[in-house]
């Protein structure tokens, strides 16, 4: 007899626990619906069918249960509504059928197309002008400029004086020792091994004043040597005003013309770069 009562009590207890967990489940469902709508999360991430199945399993034993049931249905309806508006929004703003666009363009006249683009056309206001300072510089330059005939003679003299400095010449001039040069190349190759793409000036000039001006010049020279050996190449983006060192020679493609460029490195540039990298650090830019 006692065992029977115990068994009933256990079943009753189990039943209560079940009711409690189902109630929690329903409450969680309502909270989830509200959160999705408030935060604007993709409403299609909510499984409406599964939610209705959960609701179906929920037995109504009191007025509170009925109330909860109504609240859940209202929340699910809100989700379905937001699914509908989400689709409408997608159709209007993001998804544009290329076939429809093609058709519209073909059926529209030139004037109509022009009229439409003019409504959304905001031309850039920019001007190429001469500033007062630049004009003064130009006048000074003009005043100091020698007559062409004289300059021509100088140019001819310079032509004889200018020559390319190759490694042998540098070694001959004792600017570099052969061992030192090979060692520097090896070190830079190792340094470049861990790099896939990096800014040219950051690489040559380092961060802040991590390299002296002389060291920068040497790094620039060694890097130029490695570029000429196709160990790395340069990618230049004039729009971003950036020069990047790229692993290997990606310009080897048939269509792309490989050309050599001169990148000037001078003391002012080195100073400016050191200041800029310092500032960049503080701005975390």
């Amino acid at each position: 007899m006692e065992r029977k009562i115990e068994g009933r009590m256990e079943r009753k207890m189990e039943g209560n626990v079940e009711i409690k967990t189902r109630r929690e489940e329903i409450l969680q469902l309502i909270a989830m619906c509200k959160e999705m709508i408030e935060k604007g999360i993709d409403p299609f991430k909510f499984n409406v069918k599964e939610a209705l199945e959960t609701l179906k399993r929920f037995e109504h034993r009191s007025f509170d249960d009925l109330n909860l049931d109504g609240q859940t249905i209202a929340a699910i309806v809100e989700i379905v509504k937001s699914q509908e508006s989400w689709i409408k929004n997608r159709i209007n703003s993001v998804f544009i059928d290329p076939l429809l666009v093609d058709l519209m363009i073909r059926t529209m006249g030139k004037d109509e197309l022009t009229e439409k683009i003019l409504k959304c056309y905001h031309p850039i206001a920019s001007i190429e002008t001469i500033t007062e300072g630049r004009l003064k510089e130009a006048i000074d330059y003009w005043n100091n400029l020698l007559p062409f005939e004289e300059r021509k003679i100088k140019f001819n003299q310079l032509d004889d004086a200018i020559e390319l400095l190759d490694v042998e010449k540098l070694i001959e001039m004792r600017i570099y020792a052969k061992d030192e040069f090979e060692k520097s190349i090896g070190l830079m190759k190792e340094e470049l091994d861990g790099v896939d793409k990096t800014d040219y000036f950051d690489f040559v000039m380092g961060d802040g004043r991590s390299y002296s001006y002389e060291a920068c010049l040497k790094r620039g020279y060694i890097l130029a040597f490695l570029i000429s050996q196709n160990f790395v190449s340069l990618s230049i983006d004039p729009l971003k005003d950036e020069i990047k060192i790229v692993k290997g020679n990606k310009n080897k493609k048939k269509d792309k013309k490989v050309k050599s460029i001169a990148i000037p490195i001078n003391y002012d540039l080195w100073m400016e770069h050191a200041q800029w990298t310092k500032k960049r650090k503080s701005l975390k830019f």
């Binding site: 030139k110 197309l113 003019l118 409504k119 905001h122």
Partner: protein, 164 residues
């Protein structure tokens, strides 16, 4: 550098954005940070208020992951100041079509679209001019929208107008 922005700084930023120094007008975010430090946005806001009464606005364009700022006219009513009608119609067709495709478009597709209304000589000439002036970009036979179209044309509005 930090602190409230001054009128001088606002004038300076307007000059930087308006006076062309490179092939592309305007300035990048990096250039402005270099010049005005972290308060560059404040200076930009001040400059926005100053150009607004003149019928201009400062537009921000995200092009190839680089933010670039330009001063643009809000609207153009004077027809004498706009490019040729053919050029604009070709530009409108190209931008809308490329945008709808959401990717780069083959040269042949663009040609198919345009040859119904324009002679080959006309649209080839216009397209090469649009590429030269930065409205369109061509890479290995594929077309994409150029930096200038992003800066000057409200593409979403254009789509709505064409589909409406």
């Amino acid at each position: 550098m930090d602190g409230a922005c001054t009128m001088d700084e606002e004038e300076k930023i307007i000059k930087i954005l308006m006076l062309r120094r490179h092939r592309v007008p305007g300035a990048t975010r990096k250039e402005l940070v270099k010049k005005f430090g972290s308060k560059y946005e404040e200076v930009l806001d001040g400059a926005r208020k100053r150009v607004e009464p003149l019928g201009m606005e400062i537009r921000e364009v995200d092009y190839k992951n680089v933010k670039r700022y330009f001063i643009c006219f809000k609207e153009i009513k004077e027809k004498s100041n706009i490019p040729r009608i053919d050029d604009l119609a070709i530009l409108a067709a190209c931008i809308t079509y490329i945008n709808a495709k959401k990717e780069k478009v083959k040269k042949e597709e663009i040609e198919n679209l345009l040859k119904e209304k324009f002679s080959r000589r006309r649209f080839e000439f216009t397209i090469s001019r649009l590429i030269r002036t930065g409205y369109l970009e061509e890479e290995e036979g594929y077309f994409s929208i150029g930096w200038r179209s992003l800066a000057e044309v409200d593409i979403n509005q254009l789509n709505k107008l064409i589909l409406s």
